[in-house]
Subunit: 280 residues, 3 copies
């Protein structure tokens, strides 16, 4: 970055001033002070952090929804971005605080699966359990690791602390069921990850898995106690107004939609419902 | 900006580090990953962009409300600010993606009227259709031009790409009905642009148009199937508690209010309702 | 900050480029343009301001809730941070716009108590009434001092204007009842400051006041027409699922909780309800 006639003094100033992107994803909402507290802590350690909110409206304790939203957003950020995700229903228990180094950036949060979809997609390089108290608040509460452990870890990492300083390397991180799709006899078994603000029902089934099912442009879908046959479309407008359709959404996952309507209103889908897909 | 003994190396670093303000206005909400995806894309192209959210809570597909909120906010930003507005019910159809250069800044979004109120107020200089694929994502979806076209356009513009590079110049942008007030025989015909969080009903009728109506300090107002005579006040407190009044709001438009109450609750006004105003 | 061989030109550029943190807390919500207008005004005066939202979802006109949320968040920000708080039901009346210099940072807002909890905690050094029109918008409205007075004051302060320039020094700022707890005969009389998104009921009674009450690990609590005896716990999990408990929350105030449930749903608590606490 800094070359030529620039003096050492200038160089060091410039390095300190360089923004480092830190994203935040939580289920805290924005009405309470919790998110702002995390931001204050980060800025105390690294005043030039560039803080970007992914969302704070994950349904409380819904790891599956957090994992999906975070995964969609994270892949679009620059290399080296530091991501903090706090959907943490078992805070204060034995679940580990982790730091995952991937080919695309750094993921910090509880080891409960909320980082897994994104981490696998980004290409995991190394995983660490965060245990070094030097990079935590002096007093760690039982109820708010977002502020006391994850926020300072992100800020110190942005400051240039080496990943190995945070704690011992670990071999595996938790990869829950919703990161896996079962394929058997021309049938895919997945689940519902997210119901978006436009009424779309988004599954954990990836485009490539649908392709391997066969050539038909119609899908037979069983979910939430219902069974429908829908066309696999390119755009919402291919179906008639109010008619259901399937498509590969802008994040590469199969979704069920209703043209200009709400698919989850129509099918009464809930987060986590199972879904079975065949091509007919 | 950079003068004196500063070396060329330092100068170039400083220029790259300079923040450039990019604002975002959408109807995406903050629960889904869509806004964060736009931010990630912008930061990949221009890591020092200074991202400011105007709002993401425009009612879905409500171009009129988007146009009003954006217009109110945009006028307060520094010259040269780049504004991205995505309220885009006809995404994927023939409606054009546009870039509007004004005396005050740059406006990027769909050519459906959502930019018009603000663009006219800021003083339109030149309009361009965004067609150059070099400044879009490699693959443009049919459903998410905010991420695939508008966000990268803003980021490349912030990076110094000339407005002429984005596509051919066009003569006109869409100016829908809600940007116009009809004046006839001492009567103004407008419509309701916004119902704010304090209960105020905000019209598209500007202060100057009210002044031209005459000298009386009372207005006769017909809207939403009702007819009332109200005083044109300077502050909410001039009316009795719970009584209706009219005033020129802080953005220069006529609004109907109830002192410490909700005008749209009382009059059952809806967005887009017509309104007729005379002075009596 | 800037030393060694760095030229004067570089130094001055670097100083101008340095971010200055300005936080915003309001009851405006994010659907209307009001918050964005304040941000635009600040960036016009100080383009490198680092704007951090604490929250804009304070219940409209609820000074008590604003004071509490702001106090929780403010203490975690770096020294020198400039905080703007606008919960301002009496805007346009005689209540004074104030600037409070504390040991930890600068607090700007209406003198109605919304700054008091945080200001006292941070250690008040000097208070000023903001009266100098040079640091306001040219035209100050009766309804929106957040944009016309408080935002520009914060931006000029960030620009290096001395606190004494904003107006005359004043001796006292408003400290309303909710900043005070009454202690008598082994009993504490406080009130309910906040009902958080996790269902917890948060009081204005500080940890030290509870300690002075005695040694028992059980509290007798009267509030909202009910009387309960609960254990003073360290974590939510010490109580049975669905059982009430008391604890000192992560901000140092007594709170009433229900393990994995909603305490304010159960006790029908409202903001501002009185609470009496004894140890038994």
């Amino acid at each position: 970055l800094v070359r030529g006639k620039t003096s050492r003094a200038t160089r060091s100033i410039l390095n300190n001033m360089s923004n480092r992107i830190i994203t935040l994803t939580t289920d805290f909402g924005l009405r309470d002070p919790y998110v702002a507290e995390m931001k204050g802590i980060i800025l105390k350690v690294h005043p030039n952090a560039k803080l970007i909110d992914i969302t704070h409206e994950i349904e409380k304790f819904n790891i599956r929804m957090g994992a999906y939203i975070f995964c969609c957003a994270a892949e679009h950020f620059p290399e080296g971005t530091i991501h903090v995700v706090v959907v943490d229903p078992t805070v204060g228990t034995k679940r580990r605080p982790i730091l995952v180094e991937t080919k695309k950036g750094f993921f910090i949060g509880p080891d409960n699966g909320v980082l897994s979809l994104a981490a696998v997609k980004a290409g995991i390089l190394n995983c660490y359990e965060i245990t070094n108290p030097h990079f935590m608040l002096p007093k760690v509460s039982n109820t708010f690791h977002g502020r006391d452990i994850f926020a300072p870890a992100a800020a110190y990492l942005a400051n240039g602390v080496d990943v190995k300083e945070f704690g011992r390397q670990i071999n595996e991180i938790t990869k829950p069921r919703f990161t896996k799709v079962i394929s058997r006899e021309g049938e895919l078994l997945g689940e519902i990850l997210h119901l978006d603000g436009f009424g779309n029902v988004i599954t954990n089934i990836a485009a490539a898995q649908i392709e391997r099912l066969g050539m038909s442009s119609y899908l037979q879908i069983k979910t939430s106690g219902q069974e429908i046959r829908v066309k696999l479309c390119q755009t919402y407008g291919e179906a008639k107004l109010g008619d259901p359709l399937a498509l590969i959404g802008s994040h590469g996952y199969l979704e069920i939609a209703v043209n200009q309507g709400s698919a989850f209103g129509r099918f009464r889908t809930k987060l986590g419902d199972k879904i079975t897909v065949t091509r007919t």
